[in-house]
Structure formats: structure tokens, C-alpha cells
């Protein structure tokens, strides 16, 4: 009978914990603020609240005596949060770099059924038809702001000595006008018709020899680097040159891969898509560049996020046991003191709250420490990967405030679970036994 009761109680506790954690994950910061406020009010206004505050105060005041054990909780949680935030920052940085390459007022047109630029082929005739669509913005002289482009990949020596693969984008005369966010930071633009290229900042960071005035060999052809551009997105990992020259160097004739077009208005996109779909001469698919680039980054950033969460969860389980250990030891060490409090009339709730608050405080410290470390070490850390398996993409880790908040939430959740059981033990300790102990 007693076993059954304690089993049922354990079950109930577990259910409460599961519900709490599920709610916790969904909680926005305003919710946490409200919770903290409610707790503070309870402590200030009610009798049991004041009791809880004073017991907590004693616990926190004596933390220094348990420095070694308490630092285990702090460092353990800092480790979890640090690794979690660093892995999520990698996913976030990758997603941000790729998806910020797009916007809602530019469209990309690919051959139907092609999921990426590199696989798409558009004939000269099709491009002419596409560029006549009325939804494409025009410049002062009435020319459409659209650029038929071709992307090929080329091998170059990386800075670490190995060969790497980089995208070489052949852009049309309007290539710069379609992307006003791309700016030249060094040298000049390439001249049409000449074997000249400008390299992105990211490409320059990953590959050697991309300095203005120097020449690079792509295959058996020599190209001159004449400038460096930057755009803080995936484009910065590319090299740009004149589309005609790229197409002839890579034997692509008059066909191109994709058309990038600036629309008259973001709302014009649906009309643009309908215009292209209605034309029987075309078998193409149009997307806003925002959608296109978001889709390109979706899969990998999701995988990276998942890896972060799985690794973080396993580490968090380890940290919970570490916190449990420490807090059980703390409760055992203070058993006499707690029993005395209960003997002179303190109720169970203030004792539970006090132990929980102490653990959460340590967890908070750990969370802040871990987040800070991840931010100091990894914010702006540059890494590279092969996007789509063929071209190097240079990106920076991004430790955003949202991620730091997420890390803090994890820390508090670990502290909550790690403090709950010791707190209950403290509150249910038989007073006489505890007083007799030692």
C-alpha cells in the first residue's frame, strides 16, 4: 500500500514535470517576466511568501561555504548552454546568410522542375520573352531591370592549401542594378567582354590569390581580379564576371541558367508569375528571391538545429543529474537547519521555494556564463561549407539575442528539474529524525 502510494506520487510528479517543461518551452519572455513578478509579489505580501524569502536569503548567504559543490551546478549548466548556443548559432548564421540574399521585390526565374540555379537552363529565346513581362521594373531609359545569369563552379586553391570549389557567376549588364545591396569595396567593376572578375568578400576570405590586380587560373584560362565586392549574404561567397565571357569560356553558348528581375512592386509578383505561366512559349517557374534562398537554406539549417537540440538534450540530462547530486548534498548538509525551521513553525512551501530558488539562481548564473562564453568565442566566427555540394559558402556564426534567451530558458529548466526533487526531500524530511541526525 505504501509502495503504491509513493509510486503514484512519483507518477504524478513526473506528469507535472512533463507538462511544466512543455509549457516552459513555449513560454515567451513576457510570460517569464509575469511569473517573476507574481513570485516577487507573493514574497512581499503574504506571510508564507515572507518566510520563503527569509529562508532563501539564508541559503544564498551561505552559498560561499559550498563553493565547490555549487560551482559544479554553474559550470555544468554553462557547458550545456555554451554548446547549445554555439551549435544553434551555426544554424542561425547559415540560415541568415543564405536567406538574406533574397528579397520580396526581386524574382528568380528557373526552368520548370529545376530546384537550383546550377541545374537550370534557359534558352536565349525564353530569356527574351521573360524580360518583356510588364511587371519587371524599368530604368530611366526603359530597359528592363533584369539580369540573365549563368553560374558555373571553378576550382581554386584555398587558403589552407587544398583545392576548393567556388561559384563563378556571369551577370548581365543589369546585374549590379538588380542588386543594389551589393557594393564594391575595393578596385573597380569588371569590363564587359574582358576576362576580368570581381570577387566577394567571403570568397576572398576562403581562397588565396583573390586580390585586385592579381590573376587567377580557372581551368586553363587566366582571369584578372579587378575588384572586391561585399553584400553580407551568400553572394559574397561568389565571383562575378561578364555573362558573355563566362558562357564562352565554359562553352555554354547563348543559354543561361536563371533570370533575376527587379519587380515594379513586391505585390506585382503574383501577376509576374501568372504572366510567365500563361505564355505557351515558356516552361519556367518564378519565385521571389526570398523564397528561393530560404528554401535553399531550409534543409541544412533544420538539420543543424536538430543536431544542436539533440546534443544539448543529452548534455542537459547529464547536467540535471549533476545538479540533483549537488542539491541533495546541500539539503543533507542543511538538514538540521531546515528541520529546526520546520520545528519552530515554518511550513513546507517556503522550504520548497527556497531550495528551488537557490538552484534556479545557480542555473541562471550558469546560463549567463555559458551564453556569454558562446557569444565571446563564436559570435562572428567564420566557417564555410559546400552549398548544394558544389560551391563554397562562407558564413558567420550568429549568436542572436533570441538564441541567448533560448539558452537561458534551457538553463532555468535544468535548474528547475534539478532543484525540485531535493526541495521536496527537504520539505518532507521527518523533523525528529533530522534533528537527531549528526
Amino acid at each position: 500500500m505504501r509502495m503504491l502510494r509513493s509510486f503514484l506520487r512519483g507518477l504524478l510528479l513526473f506528469a507535472v514535470l512533463a507538462v511544466f517543461l512543455a509549457a516552459w518551452i513555449l513560454l515567451p519572455w513576457q510570460g517569464l517576466l509575469a511569473l517573476a513578478l507574481a513570485l516577487a509579489l507573493w514574497m512581499a505580501l503574504t506571510r508564507s511568501g515572507r518566510q520563503a524569502a527569509s529562508v532563501t536569503w539564508v541559503g544564498v548567504g551561505t552559498l560561499r561555504q559550498r563553493l565547490g559543490a555549487s560551482s559544479v551546478v554553474v559550470v555544468g549548466i554553462a557547458g550545456v548552454v555554451g554548446v547549445l548556443v554555439a551549435l544553434l548559432a551555426m544554424a542561425e548564421g547559415y540560415r541568415h546568410t543564405v536567406s538574406s540574399s533574397g528579397s520580396t521585390d526581386t524574382a528568380i526565374v528557373l526552368r520548370g522542375g529545376s530546384s537550383a540555379e546550377l541545374m537550370s537552363v534557359l534558352s536565349r529565346d525564353a530569356i527574351t520573352v521573360i524580360e518583356r513581362a510588364p511587371e519587371i521594373a524599368r530604368d530611366a531609359e526603359g530597359r528592363p531591370l533584369s539580369s540573365a545569369e549563368i553560374v558555373v563552379s571553378a576550382n581554386l586553391p584555398r587558403r589552407d592549401g587544398d583545392e576548393g570549389s567556388v561559384s563563378l557567376r556571369g551577370v548581365g549588364p543589369m546585374g549590379w542594378a538588380v542588386r543594389p545591396e551589393v557594393r564594391l569595396v575595393e578596385g573597380r567593376r569588371f569590363e564587359p567582354g574582358r576576362r576580368e572578375l570581381v570577387a566577394g568578400r567571403g570568397a576572398q576570405r576562403q581562397f588565396s590569390g583573390l586580390e585586385p590586380g592579381r590573376t587567377v587560373r580557372l581551368g586553363n584560362q587566366v582571369w584578372t581580379v579587378v575588384g572586391i565586392f561585399d553584400s553580407n549574404d551568400a553572394m559574397a561567397s561568389e565571383m562575378w564576371a561578364d555573362a558573355e565571357v563566362v558562357a564562352s569560356s565554359y562553352r555554354r553558348g547563348s543559354s543561361r541558367g536563371a533570370v533575376f528581375a527587379a519587380l515594379t512592386d513586391p505585390k506585382a509578383f503574383n501577376a509576374f508569375k501568372a504572366t510567365l505561366a500563361a505564355d505557351p512559349r515558356l516552361q519556367v517557374e518564378a519565385e521571389t528571391t526570398l523564397d528561393y534562398f530560404s528554401r535553399q537554406s531550409e534543409q541544412l539549417s533544420k538539420v543543424l538545429r536538430w543536431i544542436g537540440i539533440v546534443v544539448g538534450s543529452i548534455m542537459a540530462v547529464g547536467a540535471v543529474f549533476g545538479a540533483l547530486n549537488t542539491m541533495f548534498a546541500t539539503v543533507a548538509a542543511r538538514a538540521r537547519e531546515i528541520a529546526t525551521l520546520r520545528a519552530i513553525g515554518f511550513r513546507g512551501a517556503p522550504v520548497v521555494v527556497a531550495v528551488m530558488l537557490e538552484t534556479m539562481l545557480l542555473a541562471l548564473l550558469g546560463g549567463i556564463l555559458g551564453g556569454l562564453l558562446a557569444w565571446l568565442v563564436f559570435n562572428g566566427y567564420t566557417a564555410s561549407t559546400l552549398a548544394g555540394g558544389v560551391a563554397t559558402l562562407d558564413f558567420e556564426f550568429r549568436v542572436s539575442p533570441g538564441l541567448l534567451w533560448e539558452g537561458l530558458k534551457w538553463a532555468l529548466a535544468i535548474g528547475f528539474v534539478g532543484g525540485l526533487f531535493p526541495a521536496l526531500r527537504a520539505a518532507t524530511l521527518p523533523v525528529t529524525d533530522a534533528l537527531r541526525a549528526m
Binding site: G68, A69, S71, V72, V75, G76, G79, V80, G82, V83, A86, L87, G112, G113, S114, S115, A116, L118, M119, V121, V152, S153, A154, N155, R158, D162, E163, G164, S165, L218, G219, N220, Y250, R251, R295, V311, I314, M315, V317, G318, A319, F321, G322, L324, N325, T326, F328, A329, A383, S384, T385, L386, G389, V390, T392
Partner: protein, 388 residues
């Protein structure tokens, strides 16, 4: 060994604490098992005797450029080259263009160069006889519920068919199985079709191939063979680069991500935390037992054996947790694979991971036990018994 029961009793003196610490160690080594499995799988891709025997020839310009088919007989004449085959990327997708599959159009003798890939001889013969036949990896068959003999539609994201559309129909002639080889996971997610059929049907490809694979008879002279192959096309518009398959895989992976570095830094953080945690447990355990240790010394245990006993306790603690964790990681791999229907494949834990793990366990155990053990060894009997 004769003090084992003493060490064991000391370890479980406080069951809750020991169990909680064990759980933390278990979590750390579970993570270690999974991550090191991933790392060593990536490190070993292509690193087998067959891979070292195969040379891969691709365009020097970039991996997406093609090479002329006329190079094949010339490569075959290079000294030390036994056999040549070629393949082209097809860019196949099933049902949805986003659902991309590894699909290669290969020469008929392609599988001769890949003896580790197993196909039923009757099915292989059927494939060779069926123009639009394909061989499909086991994992693919399971994933989509295909049967041999079935005709399936595949979309190419790159190459149009003779009718101008991107839709192709193929008949499944046989099943590819990777057996026990290291590359089994890759083999079983592969689809192979006939290069000849592909080349005739699509207007985009005119006697060009994506890459050549050739087998050398003497591995020690493969570098010379690779240089000779590259010299064939020197100063032509189609310069090539030839590497053995291992090196080619390694170069590609290294560009993808520095897996070793990522895994290394995660494990560094995990083990640092673990060190602190178990160190704290051991320090607590020894502090609590000060008087017991003093009694042991009083009845004649030497300082050295007290030191050894505390060290043994901490090593045992880490070993139990670690072995359980690694075992759990090993058991979890197949379970996750089966539950996700083969979509997530956790690599099995090889003996090298076990060896590394066991080494780490002993090292961590010794490290966290060192301080408390020295303390226990230096214990002054009189002071300890007096509770000073």
C-alpha cells in the same frame, strides 16, 4: 583485486549519489559514442583497399564540368590501369523535385570496379539486358516501398528526355546491397541507370561523361598512373585531375565541414564538465569517509593501498557509467534506424571508438580520483580519528 569488495562497498555507500553521478557519466559517454561514430565514419569514407585501388578522374575546371568520352580508350592504355568505367550525374528526384536522390548514369562495367557492391547475378544480367533498367539501393527500395520489376517515374532536375520533358520512366531490374562494407550506407541509397540509354535520350549530353573511374593493378604506383592520365589532356580544353577515391572523398568532405573540429570541441566541453562533476563527487565521498579511511590505516593498510583503493573507486565509477553509456549508444543506433525507416542512420560504434572511449574513461577516472586519493594517502591517523 582482493580488495575489490571494499572498493565496491565504498562506491555504493551512498546509493543516490553514486547513481546520479553514474547517470551523468552515462549521458556524457552516450554522446561520445554517437559523435565519435559519426566522426570515424566520415574519417573512414573511401578508406578501404578497394577505394585505394580506384582512381577518380574529373575535370580540372570544376566537378560539374564534363569530359569527352573519347578519353576512355586512352586512359585504358595507361600503364598500370586495369579497367576504366565512367559515370554521369543524373540529378534524379522522385515525386517532388526537392526530393533528390543519388542517381548516376553509368557504363555497363561500372559494378566490375566496385566488388564491394553486391547484386544478385541474375538481376545484374537482367539490368544489362534492359535498356531503361535501373539498379536501386536496398534503403531506397524500403523507403519508397518499391518492388523489383516495377516501373517507376523519376524526374531529372537537369536533363530533359528525348520528348523535351524532364520526366523519365525506369524499370527496376535489381537491388544493390552494401553488405558489411564501410560504404554500405552510400551504396544502399544509390540508383544506377545505363549511360548509353541516358546519352541517347537526352539532347544535352553528347558523348561526354561526368567522371571516370579506373582501377590500378599496383597501388604503390597509382600516383604515377594518375599523373599519366592527367598528362593525356594537358593543354586541351578538357584538362583533368586524377586522385585516388579516398583522397577525392576526403577533399570533398573537408570542404563540407570540419567534422573533427566540431565533434572535438563539443566533446571537450562535455568532458570538462564531467571532470568537474565526478571530481566533486569523489571529493565528497572521501571527505565523508575520513574516519573510515583512518580506521583502515590503523588496522594496517599502507598509505599506498589506500591511494590505490580510492583511485580504483573513481576509475570503477567512470568505467561503469561509461561502458553503460557507450553500450546504450551502440544499442540505440539500430533502434533509431528502424524507427525512422532508414532515414536517419547512426553509424555503428567501431572498435576504435570503444578503445578510445575506454582509454578516456580510465584517464578521467584517474584524473578525478587523483586529488582525493592523495588526500586520503596523506591522512594523519590521529587527526582523522579525532575529527580534526
Amino acid at each position: 583485486m582482493k580488495y575489490f569488495h571494499l572498493v565496491w562497498a565504498a562506491l555504493f555507500r551512498r546509493k543516490t549519489r553514486t547513481l546520479l553521478t553514474l547517470a551523468s557519466i552515462l549521458a556524457a559517454f552516450l554522446l561520445f559514442g554517437m559523435l565519435d561514430g559519426v566522426r570515424s565514419t566520415f574519417a573512414q569514407v573511401g578508406r578501404n583497399a578497394d577505394g585505394a585501388q580506384r582512381l577518380q578522374t574529373v575535370s580540372k575546371m570544376s566537378i560539374v564540368e564534363t569530359l569527352p568520352l573519347s578519353l576512355a580508350p586512352r586512359i585504358a592504355q595507361v600503364p598500370n590501369i586495369e579497367a576504366v568505367t565512367w559515370a554521369n550525374w543524373f540529378g534524379g528526384a522522385y515525386q517532388n523535385p526537392r526530393n533528390q536522390l543519388f542517381t548516376f548514369a553509368v557504363a555497363d562495367n561500372y559494378l566490375d570496379l566496385y566488388p564491394e557492391v553486391q547484386v544478385d547475378p541474375a538481376q545484374l544480367a537482367k539490368w544489362k539486358a534492359t535498356r531503361n533498367g535501373i539498379l536501386v539501393g536496398e534503403a531506397m527500395m524500403r523507403r519508397f516501398g518499391w518492388e523489383p520489376g516495377q516501373t517507376i517515374p523519376l524526374q531529372s532536375t537537369i536533363f530533359p528526355n528525348s520528348d523535351g520533358s524532364l520526366n523519365w520512366a525506369f524499370e527496376i531490374a535489381g537491388v544493390l546491397s552494401g553488405g558489411e562494407s564501410d560504404s554500405a550506407a552510400f551504396t544502399e541509397a544509390l540508383i544506377l541507370m545505363h549511360y548509353d540509354y541516358f546519352e541517347e535520350a537526352t539532347p544535352y549530353v553528347d558523348n561526354t561523361v561526368g567522371w571516370y573511374i579506373s582501377r590500378v593493378s599496383d597501388v604503390n604506383r597509382s600516383d604515377a598512373a594518375a599523373r599519366t592520365i592527367d598528362a593525356l589532356s594537358q593543354n586541351s580544353p578538357h584538362e583533368t585531375r586524377t586522385m585516388n577515391e579516398q583522397a577525392a572523398f576526403a577533399a570533398q568532405l573537408k570542404q563540407m565541414a570540419d567534422i573533427g573540429l566540431i565533434v572535438g570541441s563539443i566533446m571537450g566541453a562535455v568532458f570538462f564538465t564531467l571532470l568537474l562533476l565526478t571530481g566533486n563527487t569523489m571529493a565528497q565521498a572521501v571527505r565523508e569517509r575520513t574516519s573510515e579511511l583512518a580506521v583502515l590505516k590503523t588496522i594496517g593498510f599502507s598509505s599506498g593501498s589506500v591511494l590505490a583503493m580510492v583511485l580504483a573507486e573513481s576509475v570503477l565509477l567512470v568505467l561503469i557509467g561509461g561502458v553503460l553509456g557507450l553500450g546504450l549508444a551502440a544499442a540505440l543506433g539500430p533502434v533509431v534506424g528502424a524507427a525512422s525507416n532508414g532515414v536517419i542512420n547512426l553509424p555503428p560504434i567501431g572498435w576504435s571508438s570503444w578503445a578510445l572511449g575506454l582509454g578516456l574513461m580510465v584517464a578521467i577516472g584517474l584524473l578525478v580520483g587523483a586529488l582525493p586519493a592523495v588526500r586520503a594517502m596523506r591522512l594523519n591517523i590521529v587527526d582523522a580519528l579525532a575529527g580534526r
